[in-house]
């Protein structure tokens, strides 16, 4: 199956006073048609910057995509002109952000903002045509009384409603890929569930659309994603189908994350398991494995040598010396 989007060797660095921050430092990732790919990581892992890099929304300066290729429908997005990438945004790849409060323009009505998206990409679809499509889209994202809502302003709606509007705007052009950057983090649990359900439902309706869901919440990933990529220190540490990842996490970081999750199901643990230490300063990541400083299973090669991303099981990739051929698999365990 040809991937819908292929990220190869993506490096996005931030050039700041305190040095070069390698926010994304060599990311390879495929998004397959029709799948929901979860990109998981803690703050500072580079997950949001990866997403912004796909649509070339990284603020420059201080950020710059220094290396890599992003292939989408036979074109390298990183080599497109600004005019061409602008046509890709929204029409073929859409994005929704965490903060539904600030992602909508407060001085325009909802209808205005949805229709603008249509007119922008199909100048022929003026007036009534755009209006009808906007109405239909608002209905699809579960906005009650779309006629009335069209005339309302963002501040008149609740956070959940606003995020629905954002989804409507993002999906009205039927994009092939939807990038959702922490779409539910700012919302209450009950609303979060609704929004996630809505996204999945819309995906099934508009078949072949893929979703890249960026989140720090592993539980959300478990419930919604088909595959998961775990990021840490600007690199992908583990990629696997969701069941494999949760049943058989290979990377010590993934294992730590899963173990430290507070849960509402299952027996209550007396004490939560923790990952010691804190997320390291992005300016001073270790030269070898980025997780070295906190890893309970580190051994000789870890601090100095960057492990490669290897396919340890079918479709299950991991970046760890425990599982790489020279040190772990044959070296240590044999």
């Amino acid at each position: 199956m040809t991937p819908l989007l292929q990220i190869r060797g993506l490096r996005t660095h931030f050039f700041t006073e305190s040095g070069v921050a390698k926010a994304v430092d060599g990311v390879d990732l495929d998004i397959r048609p029709g799948e929901v790919l979860g990109l998981v990581g803690e703050s500072g892992s580079g997950k949001s910057v990866t997403a912004l890099s796909i649509l070339r929304l990284v603020p420059d300066p201080p950020g710059r995509i220094v290396d890599g290729e992003i292939w989408f429908k036979g074109r390298n997005l990183l080599a497109l002109s600004w005019e061409e990438i602008r046509k890709v945004r929204g029409r073929e790849i859409s994005m929704i952000f965490q903060e539904p409060m600030t992602s909508l323009n407060p001085v325009f009505t909802i209808g205005n903002q949805v229709m603008e998206m249509i007119v922008q990409h199909e100048p022929s679809a003026r007036g009534d045509v755009a209006r009808r499509r906007a109405l239909q889209m608002l209905g699809e994202v579960g906005i009650p009384e779309p006629e009335t809502r069209m005339k309302q302003y963002p501040h008149e709606l609740s956070g959940g409603m606003r995020q629905r509007i954002m989804i409507a705007i993002a999906l009205v052009m039927n994009p092939a890929l939807l990038i959702a950057d922490e779409p539910t983090t700012a919302l209450d649990v009950t609303i979060q569930a609704q929004i996630l359900n809505l996204m999945l439902e819309l995906k099934t309706r508009h078949e072949a659309g893929a979703i890249l869901l960026i989140t720090h919440n592993l539980a959300v990933v478990a419930e919604t994603c088909d595959r998961v990529a775990v990021m840490y220190g600007g690199k992908i540490q583990e990629v696997a189908p969701v069941r494999d990842l949760f049943r058989n996490p290979l990377h010590p970081y993934t294992r730590g994350l899963l173990a430290s999750l507070p849960r509402v199901d299952g027996p209550k643990a007396e004490r939560l398991t923790t990952i010691p230490g804190a997320v390291p300063d992005i300016h001073m990541l270790p030269p070898g494995c980025k997780f070295t400083t906190r890893c309970p299973e580190r051994f000789e090669p870890c601090p100095g040598l960057e492990p490669p991303l290897v396919e340890r099981e079918p479709d299950h990739w991991v970046r760890c010396h425990l599982h790489d051929d020279c040190h772990g698999y044959f070296g240590r365990h044999s």
Partner: protein, 284 residues
């Protein structure tokens, strides 16, 4: 097990607490309506116990916490508070809701608070040492050297290095800042700590560290916690009893495991069902 027959170990008792915020409007601003943020909340907290106060944004849980430490009148213009907040001080019960700021000062050391936002809850212009020391300067007559020793001891208790006392908050990560906030709360040997979403702003791998730390400190110092959170999964790990709040009222109250295994109120059920579980077999 936890029946209310023995009232001697009750340390805090909210009786029908009501908080209303006025809404101002009109050309000449005057009160046009009001928001009932807390609408008749009663709950009891026993010594050494943790009560989890759970609900979604706007349900009034934070207001309850702020009412207990009596800072609502100070922070909000013309707030209306009714009901009683009975604190069982060794010298006798006292209704905190009726106290002014001056009378309240006497009880301040006993009731401390840990805040949600590790970035805004520490004064960026003060060193960590000064932040942790401030309650000591106000409530004790310790000398400078005694205070300094106590600050170092407190920082060690929250697993920071005593050398960090000379540093400024912006030099720390979110989890470390939250521990500084905990050290400040512990400085005066409090009896009750109100923790208002103390881990919500933290990374997953850091949340567990802070929760464990809070549990250790509770054991060591015999603290009673009111743990306010929107996250049912976090509360489960620290609370003995849980109160579910909805629109200013407590809709369900019970032992923690009871709520998770057999939620009674429809809202508790909805809330619990909405919590995502890290289990790929339970798909949406």
């Amino acid at each position: 097990m936890t029946t209310a027959t023995d009232t001697s170990d009750v340390i805090l008792d909210l009786q029908d607490l009501r908080v209303r915020f006025p809404v101002f409007g009109g050309i000449i601003p005057r009160k046009t309506s009001e928001v009932r943020a807390v609408d008749g909340v009663s709950l009891t907290l026993r010594r050494g116990e943790t009560v989890g106060l759970v609900g979604e944004s706007g349900c009034g849980k934070t207001t309850v916490g702020r009412a207990i430490v009596n800072i609502l009148r100070k922070m909000t213009y013309r707030v209306d508070i009714e009901g009683r907040i009975v604190y069982h001080h060794p010298s006798g019960a006292v209704d905190l809701a009726s106290l002014g700021q001056r009378q309240m000062r006497r009880y301040r050391p006993d009731l401390q608070m840990v805040f949600q936002d590790p970035y805004s809850s520490l004064n960026p212009r003060m060193t960590v040492g000064a932040i942790v020391e401030e309650p000591l300067r106000i409530h004790t007559r310790q000398t400078k050297a005694e205070r300094r020793d106590r600050v170092r001891w407190l920082l060690e208790k929250v697993r920071l290095s005593p050398e960090h006392a000379t540093r400024y908050p912006h030099e720390f990560s979110g989890g470390q800042r939250q521990r500084i906030g905990i050290a400040r709360a512990l400085a005066t040997n409090p009896k009750i700590v109100i923790a208002d979403e103390p881990v919500s702003a933290l990374d997953v791998s850091i949340q567990a560290q802070v929760i464990n730390l809070m549990q250790d400190l509770q054991e060591e110092f015999g603290l009673s916690y009111i743990f306010i959170s929107h996250d049912l999964s976090v509360v489960r790990h620290i609370a003995n009893r849980i109160c579910v709040m909805y629109f200013g009222r407590i809709v369900e109250e019970g032992p923690a495991e009871e709520i998770y295994l057999r939620p009674q109120h429809p809202y508790s059920k909805t809330l619990l069902a909405a919590v995502p579980r890290p289990d790929p077999d339970r798909r949406r």
